[in-house]
Amino acid sequence: MIFSLLIYTSKSNSQAEQTALRFTRSLLAKGHSIHRIFFYGDSVHTASNLKVTMRDEQDLTAQWLALSTQHQLDLVVCIAAAVKRGVIDESEAKRHQKPGANLQHGFSLSGLGQLADAAIHCDRMITFAN
């Protein structure tokens, strides 16, 4: 089956993204596919490249990237949600005259149309939120 995931977490260190990661690994191992993973709301912070992972914690951003590299996942971050929360790429930094960009390479900023497309082109859309 084709899945799309909508990630919408609002508390850092909540379990929701960890559950989503395990779910993703499991569905790929079972031969299903993922059309897109869409990061919305406060989940856009997952795509920041300025986070420092403490020694005793897991780097969820790196885990998404590793999965994405291995399985060519489409990791899309909602551009409107990201820009207002301070997660921006070079192009947005320039447009809004910000001093730098912090979007982790491997994630892309795009509009909610990508979520609509994800909903259309999947058999199951699963929300992971908190």
Binding site: L6, S10, Y40, G41, A81, L112, A116, A119, T127, A129
Partner: protein, 123 residues
């Protein structure tokens, strides 16, 4: 209710106004999906019904009042908005007190209603 449930989407709004970004971001999903010709319905449930009271006024708060954005729903062809009779009673409201036209559902009809949609988004 969707006649063609192939791509129909139900958005559930259960948070009160001015609570977080979630009501605004749910609405934005509705507008975006409509632009892709996905039939969208919205169910306001529990405190969510308060989001569309016509007398909200955020002047004293440093927050946007979403009411005009919600009013834009009709232009976007999102004409299926639903509230629950029990919630109207709870807050002593009539549908006239709401800024957008809503159909009403009995609490016991919620489950059947939801069944018709392909996708349900509940932020």
């Amino acid at each position: 209710m969707p006649t063609n449930n192939d791509q129909s989407v139900l958005l559930i709004i259960s948070n009160p106004p001015f609570y977080s970004a979630s009501n605004r971001e749910t609405l934005d999903i509705g507008l975006a999906f409509s632009a892709f010709d996905i039939p969208v319905s919205i169910l306001f449930i529990d405190d969510g019904i308060l989001q569309i009271k016509s007398d909200l006024n955020s002047e004293q708060l440093a927050q946007k009042n979403l009411i005009n954005t919600f009013k834009a729903l009709e232009m976007y062809d999102i004409q299926d908005c639903y509230v629950i009779n029990k919630d109207l009673e709870r807050f002593n409201l009539s549908t006239n007190a709401l800024a957008i036209k809503c159909k009403t559902l009995d609490k016991d009809a919620i489950a059947q209603f939801i069944q018709a949609f392909k996708t349900v988004i509940n932020l």
